[in-house]
């Protein structure tokens, strides 16, 4: 069910974008166009997060990365002001 798949993919992207905005200074006003997970700013931010949290730096939303995003943590950002 591609539609169903898209919905799931979208909520995953929401979660990831929220995480990167909260903790890695991803610009909140990212245009829709860069919402795709293979867009450059997102890939760079995913790599920054993976590096900081000691994950394998793939730039992709692999299982380890998604697992970490769901883990309990401190609400203070990891980088930035």
């Amino acid at each position: 069910y591609p539609l169903d798949g898209t919905v799931k993919e979208d909520s995953k992207m929401d979660l990831v974008q929220q995480y990167l905005e909260n903790y890695y200074n991803l610009e909140k006003d990212l245009k829709q166009s860069v919402r795709r997970k293979d867009s450059n700013p997102i890939v760079k931010k995913i790599q920054e997060m993976q590096r900081f949290l000691g994950l394998k730096v793939t730039g992709r939303l692999d299982a380890d990365t998604m697992e970490v995003i769901h883990k309990p943590r401190c609400g203070v950002p990891d980088v930035g002001d």
Partner: protein
Amino acid sequence: FSTFPGSPKWKKTHLTYRIVDYTQDLSRDAVDAAIAKALKVWEEASPLTFSRVHAGEADIMISFAVREHGDFIPFDGPGKVLAHAYPPGQGIYGDAHFDDDEQWTEDTSGINLFLVAAHELGHSLGLFHSDKPEALMYALYKPPTDIGRFRLSQDDVNGIQSLYGPPPASPNDSVMPQDSNPTAPEFPVMCDPDLSFDAVSTLRGEILFFKDRYFWRRIHWNHKPEFHLISTFWPSLPPELDAACEVNSQDTVFIFKGNKFWATRGNEIQVGYPRSIHTLGFPPTVKKIDAAMSDQKEKKTYFFVEDKYWRFDENSQILEQGFPRLIADDFPGVEPKIDAVLEASGLFYFFSGSSQFEFDPKAKMVTHVLKSNSWLHC
């Protein structure tokens, strides 16, 4: 470790805290004990001390809340964000907020309050997140198997001491980070009257004072010298350096340890280093360099080894003939062994133990004897 942008820190070492309200998950005594234990963790690793107030404004206000709680950064229900805290400062700054949608416990069956409080209070004191998974200041909640044996990691200790220095020396110093070795030297204290240096060098207008695994960085626009781990800027350099000197014409600092030396531009170690000091022309009898200084005007670099010194011509890139010469012959009044040497404003500063000899090369005499740490505004 890292500190908040701009490295905000408390301007005092005695701080007050107040537990404004409580979670229903634990008894008040259990919450009081967890917070006190969390503060003690930082007390033992720094000169900071804390006292509790029960009303009014305290430096660190501790509270439990759910969802939106008045600081525009709402909590998110059970899981994910457990708590947050603000860097040192007035008002909300310094405060720590705990998400009461979590299940707070004294053990690790739920979210351990002591552990999260110790982390959040690290923020209240000025620490940002660490990228070391073993550090308390690592962003993700990672309860240790045995919470009773919790110790700060070396990274946490280095972080808090980069802001506030080490605890005052006391016979029963109990803080020994869990991954340190018992013979590890104490943290050097900047204004210790007996302080000596391993090496001193300029670097692009700054002056670096190396000691053990650390260095102070004196920046002309900042009265307070910064205190860093050598490994923070040069991860590949060993601790306890022997000598360092900047050759301005090459925008390079040469750093010596044992029979090796490195070249660095800023904090970039140059390719092809370390090299043997014997590639500079020293005889095999020279095992290490005690101190080095480069005279920018003369374009000569001086190397001091025990009671003698060599001179290196930066133009021809070779050690000059007629050396070594006795230090006592050409620098009367300067007593070997020399730990470090610095050239500034045409004068030479020889560091030997806790003393520093200011030498005027024109007058060929020692013009002042100072404490070694006089450059650090002690």
